[in-house]
Subunit: 180 residues, 2 copies
DNA sequence: TATTTATGTCAACAAAACTGACATATTTCA
DNA sequence: TGAAATATGTCAGTTTTGTTGACATAAATA
């Protein structure tokens, strides 16, 4: 029964650090419950988690192009097309031709879309706030840890697109400006 | 552009707490990168993430029954059957009839299975350790937060099955003992 | 003008979940 | 003991969400 607690020799031989089995499992359980929060609501709208993700990013990065959305979600355009089309057809998202480059489609959440995005964020936000309070931990501490868990290449994006930070849009416009 | 930072009125009206948009996104990005760590390895073995999860829990809760595995994973038996059968057929997991109840199948990882489970845990563990170091945070703090993120009903299971804790097996045997 | 780029779309496919139905062996209960 | 409940396995069909590959269109760019 003791040898099931995984080979300690290999563990120390490879990394001289502990195998974080506890945190690995906790991440699984915590994330599963966290994502299950909006599920019931999504079901009522006939949407799935893929729709949730698209609506979230379009709402919080208004004016995002299709290419930018693909890069954030890391899926193929064919995969995105299905859910995005549904969100557009049902009036949660609108597309407008890019003012500088008319090939691009800038994406915006409608009022209806913003309201749904908020309704989906509320239970997740409540879970996080409750957990922070119960554990007696400051938001910034968890934020630091999670940020460090993200691949370094991706962290730049996070800095540019802090939800609520307005620098993001300006930055995007700058890039497109200099590209001409 | 400012109204996109979501209706502050509703936010305060509902919960008097902040909408944790930053943490919601960070959880998405962090978990995605975290789960992508073992992907390359899994691909080489012709397995997917579903196999990873099954192998993980069978390795760290040896003697688990099919029913217990289903409860932890929260999937249907038809869904489990497919991946479990593959793991058994390829010699990563074995089944033995429960000694007390011969209808049950107790699941055990083979040596081969334990080795793969370890190899899959290593990159995830490394990411966690690096993140803790970079953020200068103690493991216990993150553990407290993640535990509080899990649905309260589930936390009991976590206490019984701390990876590395040996009380789990005894507990299970006790339960089955009294059931007769 | 020719090429590249941004987007859209068609078709086929795969992983991993689901439901519903039914079979078998074993245990439990009246 | 015989009937009912339980643990597991399996067949068949469906859904969601991802994939590849191919090709079309409009707009920008060299």
């Amino acid at each position: 029964m003791t040898e099931v607690t995984l080979p300690v020799r290999e563990q120390t031989a490879c990394t001289d650090e502990s195998l974080q089995l506890g945190l690995i499992e906790l991440l699984f359980f915590a994330y599963r419950d966290f994502t299950s929060d909006p599920d019931e609501l999504l079901l009522q709208y006939g949407f799935g988690r893929a729709h949730h993700r698209v609506l979230h990013f379009v709402t919080h990065r208004p004016g995002m192009t299709v290419a930018e959305l693909l890069e954030v979600l890391r899926i193929t355009k064919q995969s995105l097309a299905r859910v995005l089309k549904q969100l557009i057809d049902t009036g949660y998202i609108i597309q407008i031709p890019g003012p500088r480059d008319r090939r691009q489609r800038e994406l915006y959440a409608t009022q209806k879309g913003k309201e749904l995005a908020l309704a989906l964020a509320l239970p997740q936000s409540r879970r996080i706030n409750t957990a922070l309070r119960e554990a007696g931990i400051d938001r910034a501490v968890v934020e630091q840890f999670l940020r460090a868990m993200v691949n370094p290449e991706r962290r730049r994006q996070l800095d540019r697109h802090q939800p609520g930070a307005l620098a993001a849009e300006d930055d995007r416009h700058d890039r497109r400006g200099t590209a001409r």
